[in-house]
């Protein structure tokens, strides 16, 4: 029995490890234990900002893909037709529905919307400074509105996710475009009442969404819906706030020093010295736009978004002898020095036949990341909305409500800056009627080309068939891009395809 006693001791020594199965994450915090403090609230809204930077989700979906490559301003470029073949298909309006670029745009937008929704759901109950709380909610609403603006202009009506979805809600069908616009307008209107103006933010918050950002986005949204009076009002509110002015020298806007300048209304922030990974859920703060848009060969880029002759010719439309000075800051021509990377010859680009390369997001060798991988760490901020854009929106809206004087005044402000030191070019516009409207349209192209606006401007103003018909554009079909086929499948058909695809 002694033996049995000893043996039982062994068994008794087995501790009851009751907590053995209670394991909680070592890295990170469960959602139930987060969203308790002001610090948590700020971290939550910052994560929504991070989604603005997603350029690869997992494929590229740059704003300039849609705005520039799809338009008559530029063509795809790259190493040949097979380089990002889907972009070739999209550019030629071939109606590809199963592409990863469309899918990535869709995915990244909803990632941003999810993050904004997380903020809007979890922050209101946190005990914290109410002003800061209101500001954070305003930022989140504006970010949500921005992603829906992208979705509704690219895809039309989309599933209206205004909350964090439960698994049973994943197969949400599309709402109408009007319903999406409804949420956008509501979010922006509410955000404007609580967001600080640009000057009210402390310097360390430079880059945050401001009241001006929301106002400009509101103007854009109204303009798209042809609510001209409301668009004029929203633009005027921004103009009259005195927060913004045109950067005196057009050429400075796209330099690194010109980032967040006096005319910057909404810029997505990127920096070159962050190292790390890139893409979806990226941990770095750099942009790939720089390397994508640089010429190949000696310029060490991928050679995308190549400006067309049509665009370059447009800069000579007003004066066939003296070009619009903005051309120099928009396009590199053969024989130009490409910054500190050398002379632009076709041989130096690797023998590609392109006569032009885009300049606005060109980065010099000496501006490359001083450490880490330079390609994925381009430093150029994405100039999403500039003051000149707001002025031109104001001009367009004013024209449509019959206030031609106001239209001309805003338009001519932009031209005055563009004129630079040469008083003999780009005279003030004095036209009225349809000529005035044409002048405003022309000015938008000159001022904003290669910044991701052109395709949407053409669709919005009904000029796409005229300008893009030769490229394969069909009104009623190509004004919207196809819904990614994978999402129709993933929702078991709850999401339906756009007409014509």
């Amino acid at each position: 029995m002694k033996k049995l006693g000893y043996t039982l001791l062994i068994f008794l020594a087995i501790g009851c490890q009751k907590d053995l199965l209670e394991k909680s994450p070592i890295v990170g915090v469960t959602e139930e234990n987060f969203y308790n403090t002001e610090e948590d609230a700020i971290a939550a809204v910052n994560a929504a900002y991070a989604a603005l930077q997603f350029e690869l989700t997992p494929a590229g979906h740059f704003r300039w893909f849609w705005g520039d490559v799809m338009s008559d301003d530029s063509e795809k470029g790259g190493s040949g037709p097979n380089d990002v073949f889907e972009l070739t298909q999209l550019e030629e309006f071939q109606g590809v529905t199963n592409g990863e670029l469309l899918e990535s745009e869709w995915k990244a937008s909803y990632q941003g919307i999810y993050r904004a929704n997380v903020v809007l759901e979890n922050i209101p109950t946190i005990e914290m400074d109410e002003t800061v709380k209101a500001q954070i909610l305003g930022e989140a609403k504006t970010i949500r509105a921005w992603f829906y603006y992208n979705l509704v202009t690219i895809f039309g009506g989309v599933p209206l996710v205004d909350r964090v979805l439960a698994p049973s809600e994943f197969n949400m069908p599309r709402s109408s475009a009007d319903e999406v616009w409804g949420l956008i307008l509501q979010d922006l209107t509410e955000a404007i009442t609580v967001l600080p103006t640009r000057s009210e933010y402390p310097p360390e918050d430079l880059g945050r969404i401001t009241k001006g950002t929301a106002q400009a986005l509101l103007a854009k949204s109204h303009l798209w819906q042809k609510n001209y009076a409301a668009a004029q009002q929203a633009a005027a509110d921004l103009i009259n706030s005195g927060e913004y002015s045109l950067t005196p020298n057009y050429g400075d806007i796209f330099s690194l020093n010109g980032e967040n300048g006096p005319g910057s209304v909404f810029e997505i922030q990127y920096m070159q010295d962050s190292g790390g990974n890139w893409g979806e859920n990226n941990q770095n703060e750099g942009s790939l736009t720089n390397v994508f848009q640089r010429a190949r060969g000696q310029f060490e880029g991928f050679g995308f978004n190549v400006p067309t002759q049509d665009l370059v010719d447009a800069f000579f439309e007003e004066n066939s002898v003296v070009e619009d000075p903005r051309l120099t800051y928009t396009v590199f021509r053969e024989g130009d020095m490409m910054g500190d990377r050398g002379l632009f010859t076709k041989e130096a680009t690797g023998g590609f036949p392109y006569d032009y390369y885009p300049r606005k997001y060109f980065s010099n060798k000496n501006e490359e990341a001083s450490f880490g991988e330079p390609n994925t760490n381009g430093g150029s901020n994405d100039r999403v909305i500039r003051y000149a854009d707001v002025l031109l929106m104001h001009a367009e809206a004013s024209y449509h409500v019959g206030d031609e004087a106001a239209a001309r005044q805003s338009l001519n402000q932009v031209r005055e800056r563009a004129r630079g030191v040469n008083p003999n070019i780009l005279p003030d516009v004095t036209a009225s009627g349809a000529d005035l409207l044409d002048a405003i349209y022309h000015e938008r192209r000159m001022e904003l080309s290669m910044e991701g606006h052109r395709f949407f401007d053409l669709v919005r103003t009904g000029r796409a068939t005229d300008e893009l018909g030769a490229l394969g554009y069909t009104e009623g079909v190509n004004n919207l891009f196809p819904i990614p086929q994978s999402q129709i499948q993933a929702t078991n058909g709850a999401i339906t395809q756009n007409p014509g695809y």
């Binding site: 033996k3 049995l4 000893y6 043996t7 062994i10 087995i14 490890q17 053995l20 199965l21 394991k23 909680s24 994450p25 070592i26 890295v27 990170g28 915090v29 469960t30 959602e31 139930e32 987060f34 971290a43 939550a44 910052n46 994560a47 929504a48 991070a50 190493s79 040949g80 097979n82 990632q111 999810y114 993050r115 997380v118 599933p159 996710v161 979805l165 698994p167 994943f170 197969n171 949400m172 310097p203 360390e204 918050d205 880059g207 945050r208 922030q269 990127y270 920096m271 010295d273 962050s274 859920n281 703060e285 060490e300 001083s370 450490f371 880490g372 999402q487 993933a490 929702t491 078991n492």
Partner: protein, 1019 residues
């Protein structure tokens, strides 16, 4: 730390005490030759004492009293039980036997006589393992056991193998549970095959159910060698050295042919061919890039072992060194392993035994990029143009002026690779076993599996430019900044297991064994790493982050950890009546930390029964000496699907944004993946019916099984609509079926000193997905870059990961045929592939794809043959698979400049010239490279894995040298492969981390053909 201390303490307990009542001695001789039997085991029945006969067949053994019974056994002889009856001298004559029925087999938490087993268990013995030099343990299972499919995940040294027991039965990790000496371990890379005594493969649900949540993919029980009580000390030394060579080379275009094809491709696309290719003949043969990367590589192994035992203790001590270089990359793809092992047991009291197993392993693996079509040296060698030389005139490496990204000079790429994994791993256990009452054993085992792995990566500066000032090489052929990176991974798993077992015989004929036990298991994985750029020195020896000159903030660093735990209770009752009827019942309850509290515990029952028909009175058929019917049913579970915390959403920092004039990186936090609080166990249910037949006392053995295995509630992160904005939660989704049968046959005999043993096995399995969760959308995987789409699809009614694509229908021979066929592409022209319009809608699009092949074989099989005559032995081992397909994705059709297989010379060049090889065109307007049956090839093969001839010198050496064995041998591995597959190697395992991506050859690192010679000495 507390656990480690306890562990070391128990390991230190090797104390020598002896107590005995009387000593029995004698000689054991064989009736065959009347010589002493060396190494026979003499044991006291129901006791712990035992002895091994010496070189003259003599033994001496202490027995508790004169009423004890001796059990005498030796492989190949009939076992005997002899009552001592007070004698002190017992001589025994043993009769040869071919029967394996008395063989003791390791099963879950115990052992059973082979004849008593009612489940489906296969065994591989030490003899079989040592017969063919196995580089890794898994190879010892390959082709030798029915129902087990083993395939190399890569031919590179040190690469893992995929082991699938009765098919792929989960969407997650399909590896079986590996238990080494009772310790659940992750992977077998640490284990030296020479240390293994036996491997048992538990295949049916009833055998594995005792492992509950962990046994769904089958269980591989490995027992390492220990000494035997009373065994005289034995020294073994084994060694081999071999040379590996590539077995096959692909026939690719030479420079002249390449230029011809390029010119034609340009012209077809309406472009002007390159001027330098104007005269193809002038280019001659050009560079053979396969020759440039393939090489001979050595392989070597040394093992020294000591083992023995006294009447109270046993010990084994071994040391091993293994080195293998790669046939691509040489020492840049090498695997070096040192192992040391100490196994010991000791009887502290006659009722109390302590012991340990302890293995230490040091691994160093240098690895190249493998098995991807982007940047592996092999894919570069197969795709690099033959016009570019390996080196420039000045002796430095050349770059291709045609190549854009990905395809760079592979020789330089290998030279610039410095990727080293260094792993130290301790796997050990200490146990205390008490036998307080007759028939009752209580055992408590504490074990650890601790792995400390470091990955070091260095990317040096290099520039293949012709002109260093202009730096004219393309970006991918130069690296102007060097980078150093490291990662530490520490896995620390501890397990504490307590088992009580009780064996009793009632009224002579009723045998009952019951066990109950519990296990606590906790696993923790810590990881951290960092990287930085700009080392002043370009010497890999100086590649430490501390030497970089970049600012501290440029360091990429990370650290984290993850934990899981399992708490289990289990029990089993084995009942046997008169060795004629047997039944077994088990139940296991597992609690896993990976589920929320609501679904934490899973319960896994099983039942099995056997009937030995030949022992019935009515059975009179003499050639059959054993006939058993078996039937079993059992249930298992799976708790793992990636994350340790799938039941909750984890908010992670690092979703940063830049604010402020100084571009300050500011933290953002959000949950990137949705949790699933309702997650529950994945379960598999398996029914098995089997038969074991022995003819002529073991000359011929046959085992056959039919099984049906159904896995339901499979854990998988099913893709969800992107509108959710998060990564998909793990969900219980699909159901899958594996049905099949397996057969193993073995015939052994000896005729006048000629012994032979031939065997074969075959396994048929049909895999079918029977449901796919809510939406039921097929799951796609296997992205093929050159086709820009996915090739694998998992769908209801199909095998997992089936190939899905277009069906080709010859080539268009003329414009009329193009016009008459459904519209494929705007610029489709004669010479392009005609794809079938499966839905007859007049347009070829994604709707015209269908299932075009399966990566799962219809059957797998193996043959072994062993022949021995007067010390000369010959061994043959063949292995094969049949009926699976491979997607040959080794050509980068998405690039225009890459080299092609020589079959492109048979391309279409005009009406009637070819109906299979399409025209060439750099734009490929018809997308001839899309995923279609054009790239689906038969993956069937039969391979002579091993052929070996040996000679044992022991018999001709003077007896006073006391050498038991001194065998010299010569072996050839992978000598012959019969296959229609056009790639380098048809034996492709589960290369991808994604379990739904199967059978794609993205430039598989081929297995070598190895010729080696070795020696095995025992004295």
């Amino acid at each position: 730390m507390r656990h480690l201390f306890l562990f070391l303490l128990i390991n230190g307990l090797i104390i020598n005490v002896s107590l005995a009542q009387m000593i029995v001695s004698g000689t054991i001789t064989s009736s065959e030759d009347n010589l002493g039997v060396i190494g026979a085991t003499v044991q006291v029945k129901d006791g712990t004492e035992g002895a091994i006969t010496d070189i003259d067949g003599k033994y001496s053994l202490k027995v508790p009293d004169g009423n004890a019974t001796l059990m005498i056994s030796y492989i190949g002889m009939e076992a005997q039980e002899i009552p001592v009856s007070g004698r002190t001298q017992i001589d025994v004559l043993m009769q040869p036997s071919s029967s394996l029925l008395d063989e003791v087999i390791v099963v879950g938490y115990g052992t059973q006589k082979r004849s008593d087993i009612s489940g489906a268990v296969s065994v591989v013995t030490a003899e079989e393992i040592s017969s063919s030099p196995a580089l890794r343990v898994e190879q010892a299972l390959q082709g030798r056991t029915a129902g087990v499919q083993v395939a190399q995940n890569s031919g590179s040294p040190g690469a893992a193998l995929s082991v699938r027991i009765r098919g792929t039965a989960t969407l997650g990790n399909g590896d079986p549970l590996y238990i080494v000496d009772g310790i659940a371990v992750g992977g077998l890379d640490f284990l030296n095959p020479n240390d293994i005594e036996s491997i048992s493969v538990l295949k049916d649900g009833a055998s594995t159910a005792i492992y509950g949540s962990r046994g769904a993919n089958g269980v591989v029980l490995i027992t390492t060698k220990g000494g035997t009580k009373g065994q005289p000390g034995e020294v073994t030394y084994t060694s081999y050295y071999g040379i590996q060579n590539p077995a096959r080379k692909l026939n690719l275009l030479n420079a002249r042919e390449y230029a011809i094809i390029q010119n034609e491709s340009y012209i077809a696309a309406g472009r002007v061919p390159l001027a330098e290719f104007a005269n193809p003949d002038a280019l001659g043969e050009g560079t053979d890039w396969q020759d440039a990367i393939f090489q001979s590589a050595p392989i070597t192994n040394h093992q020294l072992g000591f083992s023995g035992g006294s009447d109270k203790s046993t010990y084994t001590l071994t040391g091993n060194y293994f080195l293998q270089d790669g046939i691509i990359g040489g020492d840049k793809a090498s695997f070096e392993r040192y192992t040391a092992r100490l196994n010991a047991t000791h009887d502290v009291k006659d009722w109390l035994t302590v012991g340990n197993v302890l293995g230490f392993t040091n691994l160093t693996r240098d690895a190249l990029v493998e098995n991807n079509e982007f940047n592996s040296p092999l894919i570069r060698a197969l795709n690099m143009d033959p016009v570019t030389p390996v080196k420039k005139a000045d002796g430095t490496y050349a770059y291709s002026v045609y190549s854009d990204t990905d395809i760079t000079n592979p020789v330089n790429a290998i030279e610039q690779t410095f990727d080293t994994w260094t792993t130290n791993r301790v796997v050990g256990a200490a146990f205390i076993e008490a036998r307080p009452l007759r028939g009752l054993s209580i055992k408590s085992t504490y074990s650890i599996d601790a792995t400390f792995a470091v990955k070091d990566v260095f990317r040096p500066i290099f520039d293949l430019s012709n002109d260093p000032v202009l730096s004219d090489a393309p970006a991918q052929e130069k690296s102007l900044v060097n980078t150093v990176a490291f990662e530490n991974n520490n896995w620390r798993n501890w397990q504490w297991e307590n088992i009580a077992s009780w064996t009793e015989t009632f009224r002579d004929k009723h045998n009952l064994t019951t066990i109950i036990g519990n296990t606590m298991l906790a696993a923790r994985h810590d990881y951290n790493g960092g990287s930085n750029t700009n080392l002043p020195s370009n010497d890999p020896e100086d590649a430490y982050i501390g030497n970089t000159i970049d600012p501290i903030e440029s360091q990429g660093t990370y650290q984290g950890a993850t934990e899981s735990a399992l708490l289990s209770y289990f029990g089993r009752a084995d009942y046997g009546f008169d060795d004629k009827y047997m039944a077994s019942v088990t139940l296991r309850a597992d609690g896993s930390s990976r589920f929320g509290e609501n679904n934490r515990f899973g319960y896994f029952p099983s039942i099995s029964a056997g009937w030995v028909i030949n022992r019935e009175e009515f059975f009179k058929f003499e050639p059959i000496t054993f006939l058993k019917l078996r039937a079993s049913w059992g249930q298992n579970g799976i708790d793992g699907a990636g994350s340790d915390y799938p039941f909750t959403s984890v908010v992670l920092p690092g979703q940063n944004y830049t604010f402020g004039p100084n571009e300050t990186i500011t933290n953002g936090s959000v949950a990137l993946t949705a949790g699933n609080p309702d997650l529950k166990w994945e379960t598999s249910v398996q029914t098995d019916i089997g038969i074991d037949v022995e003819f002529w006392s073991g000359k011929l053995n046959l085992t056959a099984d039919y099984f049906v295995k159904t896995t339901k509630d499979m854990l998988y992160s099913v893709p969800i609509p992107f509108t959710a904005g998060t990564g998909p939660p793990v969900q219980n989704v699909a159901t899958m079926n594996n049905k099949g049968w397996e057969l193993a046959l073995n015939y052994r005999d000896r005729v006048d000193g000629f012994r032979y043993d031939i065997g074969g096995n075959i396994t048929f399995i049909k895999n079918e997905v029977t449901s796919l969760g809510k939406g039921g959308e097929p799951l796609v995987a296997g992205y093929i870059q050159s086709a820009n789409s996915q090739s694998n699809r998992t769908d209801v009614g199909q095998a997992i990961g089936s190939f899905y694509g277009y069906v080709t229908d010859g080539l268009f021979q003329n414009a009329e045929e193009v016009a008459a066929h459904a519209s494929q592409s705007e610029n489709t022209a004669p010479g392009d592939i005609r794809f079938k319009d499966l839905n007859d809608d007049g347009i070829i699009n994604a709707e015209d794809r269908t299932y075009i092949g399966s990566p799962i074989p219809d059957f797998t099989y193996g043959f072994t043959g062993n022949f021995e005559y007067k010390g000369v032995d010959l061994q043959l081992f063949l292995q094969g698979v049949y009926g699976n397909e491979i997607y040959n994705g080794t050509v980068r059709y998405d690039f225009i400049f890459v080299n092609r297989p020589a079959s492109v010379l048979e391309r279409w060049t005009g009406e009637g010239t070819s109906n299979s090889q399409p025209r060439v065109n750099i734009n490929d307007p018809n997308q001839n490279a899309r995923v279609s049956d054009r790239f689906i090839e038969s993956g069937s093969f039969l391979r002579l894995k091993n052929v070996q001839i040996g000679y044992d010198l022991a018999d001709i050496l003077p007896a006073n040298l006391k050498v038991q064995k001194i065998r010299l041998y010569l072996a050839a591995q992978n000598l012959l492969t019969f296959t229609k597959y056009s790639g380098l190697d048809p034996e492709i395992g589960n290369i991808s981390d994604n379990s739904l991506e199967l059978g794609i050859d993205r430039g598989f690192y081929p297995q070598a053909r190895t010729i080696l010679g070795g020696v095995q000495v025992t004295f």
